[in-house]
C-alpha cells in the first residue's frame, strides 16, 4: 500500500503530471488522490484548460502578425548601412 498524498503535494506534482513525466509510485499516489478528491479533479481540469487556452490563444497562427511599418524596415536598413 503506497503512502497517500494530500492536496498540496498533488499540486506540486501537477506540471510533471500534465507533461507526462510522472511515473511509478509517484503516479500511483497522484492517481489515488485524484480518485478520492473532487476538488483536485476540478483543479486539474482548470489547470489543463488554462494550458490549452494559452496554446490556442497564443499559437503563432492564432493572430495576424502586426502590420510591419515600412519606416521600421527603412530605419533598420539605414542603421545597417551606417554601421
Amino acid at each position: 500500500m503506497h503512502e497517500r498524498i494530500n492536496c498540496r503535494e498533488l499540486i506540486e506534482l501537477l506540471d510533471d503530471y500534465v507533461e507526462q513525466r510522472l511515473a511509478g509510485a509517484e503516479r500511483a499516489r497522484f492517481d489515488d488522490h485524484l480518485g478520492r478528491c473532487p476538488a483536485c479533479r476540478r483543479y486539474l481540469m482548470g489547470y489543463q484548460g488554462t494550458m490549452r487556452a494559452v496554446a490556442l490563444a497564443c499559437a503563432p497562427d492564432a493572430a495576424t502578425p502586426p502590420e510591419v511599418p515600412g519606416e521600421l524596415i527603412a530605419a533598420i536598413l539605414a542603421s545597417r548601412r551606417a554601421s
Binding site: 494530500n6 492536496c7 482548470g46 494550458m51 490556442l56 502586426p66 521600421l72 524596415i73
Partner: protein
C-alpha cells in the same frame, strides 16, 4: 521580392545583397514584433528591441552557419534582446501572487476549490474572444511570471532554455512557471466558469 530558398537567401545576405536584407525583414519583422510585444508589453520598446535584434543578426550573419532556420535564429535573438531590456528596466518590487495560488489548511488539504470549469469550454469559445481573455490575463501577471509563461508556453522554449534566458537555475524556472500557471488558472477560472453556465 524574389522569395529565395533559405540557402540562397543566406548566401545573398552573406555577400551583402541589399535586396536579401529587405526580403529577410519583410518575412520576419511581423513575427519578431509580435514576440517583442508579448514579452515587453510596450509598442515602442518592442520596435526598439526588434531593430536591435536585426542589427545584431546582421552583425553576426557572416558567421551564421545555417544550423537553424533564419527565422528560428532571429526569434532567439529577439527573445534575448527583449529579456535584456526587461533586466534593465527599473526594478520594481516583485509583485506577490500568493493570493492567486491555491490555499491549503495546516494538513495540506484544499481550503477552497474555486469555481468549476466545464469540460471543453476553452474549445467552445470564439477564437477572438479567447485570445482577448487569455492575453488580458497573461498581461495581469507580474513581469517575472508573465515572462516565463511567454517563453515556455507560448514561444516554446524548454525549461532549460527559459532558465538560461532568464538567468536563473532550471529548478527556479520550473517553480516560477508552476506558480505562473496556477495564478493564470485563477485569473481565467471565473471567466470560463461563467462561460460554462
Amino acid at each position: 521580392m524574389t522569395d529565395r530558398c533559405e540557402g540562397e537567401l543566406l548566401r545573398a545576405l552573406q555577400r551583402g545583397d541589399e535586396s536579401a536584407y529587405t526580403e529577410l525583414m519583410q518575412a520576419n519583422t511581423g513575427k519578431m514584433l509580435a514576440v517583442a510585444r508579448r514579452i515587453l508589453k510596450d509598442d515602442e520598446e518592442a520596435y526598439d528591441a526588434t531593430q536591435e535584434a536585426f542589427l545584431q543578426a546582421f552583425n553576426a550573419i557572416a558567421s551564421f552557419q545555417g544550423d537553424a532556420l533564419l527565422s528560428t535564429w532571429l526569434h532567439r535573438i529577439t527573445v534575448n534582446a527583449c529579456l535584456m531590456r526587461l533586466r534593465h528596466r527599473k526594478r520594481h518590487p516583485e509583485t506577490a501572487i500568493e493570493e492567486l495560488l491555491p490555499q491549503f489548511d495546516e494538513t495540506g488539504h484544499r481550503i477552497e476549490s474555486g469555481p468549476a470549469w466545464t469540460e471543453n469550454v476553452v474549445d467552445r469559445l470564439e477564437s477572438a474572444q479567447l485570445r482577448k481573455v487569455v492575453r488580458d490575463a497573461i498581461d495581469r501577471l507580474p513581469d517575472n511570471y508573465r515572462t516565463v509563461i511567454v517563453l515556455r508556453d507560448i514561444e516554446g522554449l524548454t525549461t532549460e532554455e527559459a532558465a538560461v534566458a532568464l538567468g536563473v537555475r532550471p529548478e527556479a524556472a520550473k517553480m516560477r512557471l508552476h506558480r505562473a500557471r496556477q495564478a493564470l488558472r485563477t485569473l481565467l477560472a471565473p471567466h470560463f466558469a461563467a462561460e460554462a453556465e
